[in-house]
């Protein structure tokens, strides 16, 4: 080869251009590769969960800020963002990735390495508070984690304490005033952990120190309060956004669904020892070594982790006040508690989940108490959903059930119909749990249900009540039919809603009508309902005419 030009032109320039054409330009010319729609799980008016082709949503300003933090801190070196259709990834994390999910990603964050798990489907898997604990120090919640801590995403203020009227209180400190607004009328609970670390998310209010949860009077002379910066809020908002273009997919996610609720596990020493190992690796950060819900991460969490010493459990098939069955705990461990820091544990082996339940039972002698044991209530098959049933449900919600008193929505004020904001009924601000901490009444329009997303889950909660919380059992006050009706009504409130941003999706009425038809089946996301293909009248999702119809 004598000619440098040949090398430069053919090899240097020619082949790379050919490759860029074949491997770069041609794939990009495919319309699918530039798609901005995804298949999204939505709840229909008749409370079924179905898949629909729907436009992906761009990041909000806060989420975009979080994405920048994610890039800056190099999160993407260890966390991939695509779920492959192989190696069981769709059973571990969730549905396989679609092109439309990346429509707004520049640069893309696929990543090539997983030192931590894939994050495509992490949105709303954990609560914001869990993420705040996790980014402050990952080992607080996952003892075996090797993820770095990110303390610079938090404001920190060290405050000295002094005794006032026999109680520890903040010493007057200008630093405290720099952080908190001290606006009258709003209390911000500061619940330090045993190491003197306390987390607060809010700043607009009066910080109130509370040591009631700690078993022994603390000897600490100062505590450190940590608060998320806007960057931390952004990062968490971004993480919560991941995968949420697929809507309520998690409610259809098979690996974390549990139907069985009664079985027994032999309470052998071996099982309990195994359970302890599991507990110390997975649970101790929040629930604490003593099982009292005072783990080092607990200060970050709201709602607080369960205190196993009291043997009080919310989600059961047993009557109000009774201990849960082992199956109940197994369901809670497997599917987690949506909207709280309790994640689903479907990934860990079944035996570990069973063993840890046995160990958790060792924290309280009440499990031996005969009087607390009760047979499970019967959970009949649900009736078929119908518009009539839902309308009936609404009436009972307002009249016999008076659910609006806490949960808001349509209700009464001075014997006249009145609509309260969802989740904020007239008694909502006064709600306290059995330990004296403020409770939030569930906002039914979000579609996030702690006890489970099926109508039977709501029915069960209505029938058994939630021990330790303000939710009573309605088993004696309402008939079975009435409870089913309310359950369907409650579920229907989250029809066509976006659980992330808590707003309604923009879907034209004709499309909704088509989806509401029980005969329309969308068994998998690949068979999602496509309004464009089946309803020629309806404009393409995302286009202007589509949105106009939506208005």
């Amino acid at each position: 080869m004598r000619y440098a030009k040949t090398v430069a032109v053919i090899a240097g320039f020619g082949f790379i251009t050919l490759a860029l054409f074949v491997q770069g330009l041609l794939p990009a010319l495919l319309p699918e590769s530039r798609s901005e729609t995804v298949s999204r799980a939505v709840r229909t008016r008749l409370t079924e969960l179905k898949w629909i082709e729907y436009p992906a949503e761009n990041y909000t300003e806060l989420e975009q800020l979080g994405r920048q933090v994610y890039i800056r801190e190099g999160c993407w070196y260890c966390h991939s963002q695509y779920i492959r259709p192989v190696t069981g990834e769709d059973q571990r994390w969730g549905p396989v990735s679609q092109a439309g999910e990346y429509a707004f990603d520049v640069p893309h964050l696929f990543s090539t390495r997983r030192i931590g798990p894939d994050l495509t489907r992490v949105g709303l898997k954990y609560s914001d508070h869990w993420h705040f604990a996790h980014h402050w120090n990952p080992r607080l919640v996952v003892p075996d984690s090797n993820m770095p801590a990110f303390p610079w995403l938090y404001d920190q203020v060290a405050v000295a304490l002094e005794e006032k009227e026999g109680k520890l209180a903040f010493r007057e400190d200008p630093a405290l005033h720099k952080i908190f607004s001290f606006k009258e009328g709003k209390e911000i609970l500061i619940l330090p952990n045993t190491n003197g670390l306390a987390f607060a998310r809010e700043r607009d209010g009066v910080p109130v120190l509370n040591f009631d949860l700690l078993p022994d009077p603390p000897k600490t002379k100062a505590i450190t309060i940590v608060l998320p910066t806007r960057e931390a809020e952004g990062l968490v908002a971004y993480i919560q956004k991941l995968g949420m273009n697929r809507g309520q997919w998690r409610d259809l996610f098979e690996p974390q669904r549990v139907f069985v609720s009664q079985f027994s596990v032999p309470e052998s020493e071996d099982w309990i020892a195994r359970g302890k190992e599991v507990y110390l690796r997975r649970c101790v950060g929040c629930h604490g070594e003593k099982g009292d819900g005072n783990g080092p991460a607990a200060t970050f969490l709201n709602p607080r982790p369960r205190n196993f010493k009291d043997a009080v459990f919310k989600f059961r098939v047993t009557p109000s006040g009774a201990l849960p069955t082992e199956g109940d705990l197994y369901r809670t461990v497997t599917r987690g508690i949506r909207g709280t820091a309790m994640p689903p544990w479907h990934e860990i082996p079944e035996k570990e989940r069973l063993a840890v339940i046995l160990f958790v039972k060792t924290f309280s002698p009440l499990w031996k108490e005969k009087s607390l044991k009760a047979a499970p209530i019967s959970l009949p098959d649900p009736p078929r959903p119908s518009e009539e049933l839902i309308t009936l449900g609404e009436k009972i919600y307002i009249n016999e059930g008076r659910c609006w008193n806490c949960h808001g929505g349509p209700g009464m004020k001075d014997d006249k119909p009145f609509t309260y904001p969802w989740g904020l009924g007239p008694s909502a601000p006064t709600l306290k749990d059995d330990w004296g901490f403020p409770l939030l009444a569930t906002d039914f329009t979000t579609g996030i249900f702690k006890s489970g997303p099926d109508v039977t889950d709501i029915f069960r909660t209505m029938s058994t009540g939630l021990n330790g919380a303000a939710m009573p059992s309605f088993a004696d006050n309402l008939t079975e039919e009435q409870r089913w009706a309310i359950s369907y009504y409650i579920l229907s409130l989250s029809a066509y809603s976006d659980p992330l941003h808590r707003k309604k999706l923009q879907i034209p009425e004709q499309v909704k009508a088509a989806l509401d038809d029980p005969n329309l089946k969308t068994p998998t996301w690949r068979a999602a309902f496509n309004p464009e293909k089946t309803e020629p009248v309806v404009a393409r999702p995302g286009s202007k005419s589509y949105l106009r119809i939506a208005e």
């Binding site: 794939p27 893309h108 696929f110």
Partner: protein, 468 residues
């Protein structure tokens, strides 16, 4: 042509310039791999250097990777080219005086780039992390270097064009095209999965169309020169060159198999990845062929030892690279340390080793200093070899283990815990590599003033081989 004699007079080279470039290369030899050890310690001991944002894993990892690619390897490579190109063309470098400003621009720009990465200015694409300003300066420097070398080649006194120069020309042109493509275009435009597909191409152009041909420039020159044997086959060089030029540009999407990127594009990248065995085995045959009849002196020829060890690593690393592109192997191994084994075996095990081989050859010739101690340097060589071999083995094993664990449904954190002992060994293997390189640099920098009588430097005109 093959029997042509290369002049040993050093009229055409600028020793001071080469020395300065290599010295900066030594800085990066010390810096970037050491950072790898620090980063790897964080796998097993995450509290290590915890608390300062600038020292977290996510900030240090890109400095390690870019440091090795653009610092350690590329700086040594450019420095060695200031030696190789005049030798092969028999003319001085065009605009030789640019060499000094380029030296300072290149290296201070790298420093600025690493500081920016530590401060969190990251473009968010692997191998294109440096912020835009840094990218622009790198591009300008690359263009200037391209002008220097290409004009030098055009003005050459040799009528033939030795294979090293083909690769040099191609590497420079490829890099000049690829650099703005990755850093100016896809970092800021073309959203979604197309961004990923194009980034796959970019990232593999960095390794396949910059590091690989650059490495070939070095070994094609230094192997025949150091063992004083003609190149085994020029026909094989031709096959190797053109097959590389044809296949390599198509492989990039194999980084994102099973993603929403079109299946047929993924398949093309897999086919091309397997076809890469052609250039790899061809050039390796050429290298091992060149050794025929020269194995006797091999043990005491440090340059050849580095080059041949690097070639062995290349054989293993590239076979791994081609096969892991196959869907069946990709399933367990992708996202695991198997891929990291591949990248270390090739980038460090091959290309950094080849560059070190070149350094060991050139440094005494431009400074007139012999190795402080052959034994010391030889220890360095063996520590490096043992380290990278162990690292390749460890990472490959753990990648397979974690991959199959996950395929059979292991919980994520459980799979991490299983990796911990491997990661400890990986850190130690990295330390071994670092200490080895320190010993090499030590014996070069503190070398003995050589008398003219010393054989290795006063060797007669190297017969043959390098010019063709």
């Amino acid at each position: 042509m093959a029997e042509q004699v290369i002049q040993t007079d050093d009229e055409v080279i600028n020793k001071e310039l080469i020395k300065s470039w290599l010295l900066w290369g030594f800085v990066w030899v010390l810096f970037a791999p050491t950072l790898g050890v620090i980063v790897s310690t964080k796998f097993t001991y995450p509290e290590f250097l915890q608390g300062l944002p600038e020292l977290t894993f996510g900030r240090l990892r890109p400095i390690h990777v870019n440091g090795v690619i653009f610092g350690t390897f590329s700086t040594l490579f450019i420095g060695l080219c200031y030696y190789i190109v005049p030798k092969l063309t028999q003319v001085r470098i065009y605009k030789e005086e640019w060499g000094y400003p380029l030296l300072w621009i290149w290296n201070f720009n790298l420093i600025a780039g690493f500081v920016s990465l530590a401060l969190g200015y990251n473009q968010g694409l692997e191998a294109a992390e440096f912020p835009l300003v840094i990218d622009i300066i790198i591009w300008i420097a690359l263009l200037a270097i391209t002008v220097q070398f290409l004009v030098t080649v055009a003005r050459r006194k040799e009528s033939g064009l030795y294979v090293s120069l083909w690769y040099l020309i191609a590497a420079l042109v490829w890099m000049d095209i690829n650099w703005p493509f990755g850093n100016f275009i896809i970092s800021y435009a073309i959203p979604g999965i197309n961004n990923a597909a194009l980034h796959g191409l970019y990232i593999h152009y960095i390794v396949g169309l910059w590091i690989t041909p650059a490495g070939y420039v070095l070994i094609y020159y230094f192997l025949p020169a150091s063992v004083r044997n003609p190149l085994y086959s020029h026909k094989l060089s031709l096959i190797g060159f053109w097959s590389l030029a044809l296949f390599y540009p198509f492989v990039g999407i194999h980084h994102y198999l099973y993603s929403p990127i079109a299946d047929w594009a993924e398949t093309i990248s897999i086919v091309m990845s397997i076809l890469l065995i052609v250039p790899v085995w061809t050039v390796l045959q050429n290298f091992f062929g060149t050794m025929i009849g020269r194995w006797q002196g091999f043990g005491s020829n440090l340059t050849a030892k580095f080059l041949i060890t690097g070639s062995l690593m290349y054989l293993v690393g590239c076979f791994q690279g081609s096969t892991e592109a196959l869907r069946a192997l990709q399933q367990p191994t992708h996202f695991t340390d198997f891929v990291i084994a591949h990248s270390h075996l090739t980038i460090f095990g091959t290309f950094v080793l080849w560059a070190l081989g070149g350094v060991v050859y050139v440094w005494p010739r431009i400074t007139g200093r012999e190795l402080l101690s052959f034994r010391l340097a030889n220890w360095g060589f063996w520590l490096i070899t043992a380290g990278i071999s162990a690292m390749g083995l460890i990472l490959t094993t753990q990648g397979l283990q974690q991959g199959y664990m996950l395929m059979t449904g292991a919980e994520w954190v459980d799979s991490l815990v299983t990796m911990q002992p491997y990661w400890w060994f990986r850190t130690f293997s990295g330390i071994s590599m670092d200490v080895g390189m320190d010993l090499i640099l030590l014996s070069l920098l503190w070398g003995r003033k050589s008398a003219a009588a010393q054989p290795s430097l006063a060797q007669p005109a190297q017969t043959a081989g390098v010019a063709a």
